[in-house]
């Protein structure tokens, strides 16, 4: 075993001793994507800060977090998203250890279904809130809520589009280098969405409902 192949040269799964050419190519691609995620996390940090301020000072006599939030759906959403992070991990393992397209696409599809379920519940909640007169136009607090949670939802949607594109590319191109590095980037993107959602579930829902 040479040492170079064992060294992790980038975030995400280490392809070093399986496919060193991809590993080589992935080094700066994943590093670049990692930096992009950093900048994307700044976006969420700001939305969290804005939510922290407006959920306290911007309720304008209307509904407050504790009067509004129920934990049931957000909890199911959390479970769906956590499970999807697990399944995309299984997809990454299929990519790494088995040159098995069917297995890979299967786990990507499961991830897609779980992500879609998450989005379905989220949209359902949004529509429900709006129809009860708690839309984003109600108060600064609700504006901040819809923006923070909705921005995460938009990210999940782009992840879903990305998943479809990758499933198609796995079939069209096979497991060639570009497809592999894209899947590696998709995986860390998906995990980041999970991390952000944990933040939302904790600070918005658990904190708010308490």
């Amino acid at each position: 075993m040479n040492q170079r192949s064992n060294r992790l040269r980038h975030p995400g799964i280490n392809m070093g001793h399986i496919d060193s050419a991809t590993d080589e190519a992935a080094e700066s691609l994943l590093f670049g994507f990692w930096i992009f995620l950093m900048s994307d996390l700044v976006l969420f940090a700001l939305l969290f800060a804005n939510y922290a301020a407006q959920s306290q000072h911007g309720t304008a006599g209307g509904p407050t977090p504790s009067s509004l939030f129920e934990l049931k759906n957000p909890f199911i959403e959390t479970m769906l998203l956590l499970a999807s992070s697990f399944t995309i991990g299984l997809a990454a393992l299929a990519l790494k250890y088995r040159q098995d397209r069917a297995r890979l696409v299967f786990w990507l599809a499961v991830t897609f279904v779980l992500g879609t379920g998450f989005i379905y519940l989220e949209v359902h909640d949004f529509v429900d809130m709006t129809s009860k007169g708690h839309g984003p136009q109600t108060s600064g607090f609700l504006s901040a809520f819809f923006l923070l949670v909705g921005m995460h939802g938009i990210h999940v949607c782009s992840g879903l589009i990305w998943l479809i594109v990758m499933m198609v590319q796995v079939f069209v191109f096979g497991l060639e280098r570009d497809v592999k590095t894209r899947l590696m980037r998709l995986a860390i993107f998906w995990h980041m969405l999970d991390v952000v959602w944990i933040g939302i579930f904790t600070f918005v829902y658990l904190f708010g409902a308490a």
């Binding site: 080094e27 700044v42 407006q54 136009q137 600064g140 923006l147 594109v165």
Partner: protein, 695 residues
Amino acid sequence: MTGEPLNYFWLGKLSLESLPFVEFIKTPNSSTAIAAFAAAAVIGGAIGIVVLLTLFGKWRVFWREWLTTLDAKKIGIMYIVLALVMLIRAVIEAAFMRAQQMLAVNREGPLSAEHFGELFTTHGTIMIFFMAMPFLIGLINVVMPLQIGARDVKFPLLNAISLALTAAGAVLVMISLVIGEFSTGGWSGYPPFTELAFNPGAGVDYWIWAVTLSSIGNTLTGINFAVTIYKLRAPGMTWFRMPLFSWTALCTSILIIFAMMPLTVATLMLALDRYAGFHFFTNALGGNMMNYANLFWLFGHPEVYIVILPAFGVFSEVFSTFSGKRLYGYHSLVFATIAITVLSFGVWLHHFFTMGQSANLNAAFGIATMLIGVPTGVKVYDWLLTMVRGRVRFTTPMLFSIMFAITFVIGGLSGVLLANPPIDFAVHNSLFLVAHFHNMLIPGTLFGMFAAYNVWFPKMFGFRLSEKWGRISFWFWSFGFYLAFMPLYALGLMGAMRRTVQWFEPQYLPWLLVAFSGAVLISLGLISQVIQLWVSIRNRDDLRAPGGDPWDGRSLEWSVSAPPPEYNFAVIPEVHDRDAFTWMKQHGISYTAPNEYQDIPMPKNSVVAPLIGFLATMLGFALTWHIWWLTIVSFLVILGTVIARSFCRDTEKIIPASQVRQEHEQWLARVKGLIPTARADETTSENQGLAEVAS
């Protein structure tokens, strides 16, 4: 009856009244006449470009060599061209504002208050987002990959898309002259004034989308540059052998990565308020404009360092090169740059000391602000000490740099004054503040960019710029700057507030007259730069520097031909010293042919970037005028373009080793035929880009 909804469907809020010509015919006065004239100028300029391209049959070249190229150097040049065009517009606007303020003492000036508001908004927006940013990003694109010994930036297509998005923003600002109006909310666009309740027109929307497009483009650029510098340095180019300009490029990129997002968030939230009735910054229902102030300046203050750090890098290169000396205090300059990068995130609150936070908080931010003066001071001393015992040559870039060092210190001192919350309370929002930040940004960013333009022009195009007209422009700009902005310090202390359309204090008049004369000189400076370019292109045969090293340069970009080949280096150089090229010259290994050449893979041209640029312009325009079908169509086509591109696998071309060999040997033979130039003759036609090696 059905006509109106149908019009709304196809054209949104657009109507004939949106055209300044119609407004001029309806209410003819000096203000609408100027607006109509400006609109005509934009249309004339656009038609002029089309006619010229057609007349000279250059459409194919324009498309193949420029619009679709992924070559960082050409992308950089396009950025700089964009910056110069926008600079011309913004300087004209500045001259109009000076004229207005001079004429409007105890009477109405030629411009209406609305029009004046648009002028200071576009002037600020353009100077920051569409002049300073594109200029420095273009410069980094041209210089940085060459300086670190790379063939290109890491993500060439992303680079082209960044340019396209910035250009789309700039085009929106230009369109606003012809269709509708621009925001009157200042470059910082503070709500609640920019909310729908007070500003229902299209102006603020133009501002929002222009700024948003350019800031997304800039974020992508920052990521691209940072990855390039981290991952693509030539062998031997350790961190502390990296030229200072590349260091500042790295720090600027890091600032961009973190600081652009707050702006994007702020403008998007403002857009949600305006388009969807959200309450982020409104007066009612829990909106709070302080959140905007925080978000905006969380971007806005690092932005100041984003635009100044690359200029610091330029000055470092200029002082060292034109003193014929190694840079003094290299390590301290690097650490000062890093210190500024870190500190710049801790001072944003000093932009609104007066807006109600506690005195202790103000004190903390005031102290942090003053702290930034320390690393900046270190830099100034390093530059001065670089000149000590050097053989200083007073060329145009050096003159700009020295004038910067003097003037910037004055501006820095007024900045330390403003960092005191109690003093800030007295002079905030006055012309004192306007004087201060122009005193930083003109000698800092602008003079830095002018110095860079004169230094690296021969690298980009293969011939030098006219030294005579360069110096003339320098003197106009310098005297113009002092005359235009020193009076503003006095006016500010006399109580004159910024962005005022009309005065009722006759004692302001003498100062305003002097300031206007400064604006005239600055305009003459800009005109002499246009003449400089014209004269230089006409005399290009006398000014040619094919050797590629007209200034006895010290870093790698001077080691290749001018203009450099698409792949930058025939063979990636090995770096042995901080002044990599000087080391090569001293060891006699510059201009040597390598043992073997290899095939070089380079990115193929792509239509993706110009397509996205066009669609983004459409998207911004459609959003501004509420043309929803066009909004949806252009958004979906952008998405489709990106996805389609990911299926495109034919993205690389191979430049064969034989071609690389032929081009390189041809150049080496040409260099052999050149006579080395002594530094004393570097501004004469003797200088063909081969420097005499100093012993």
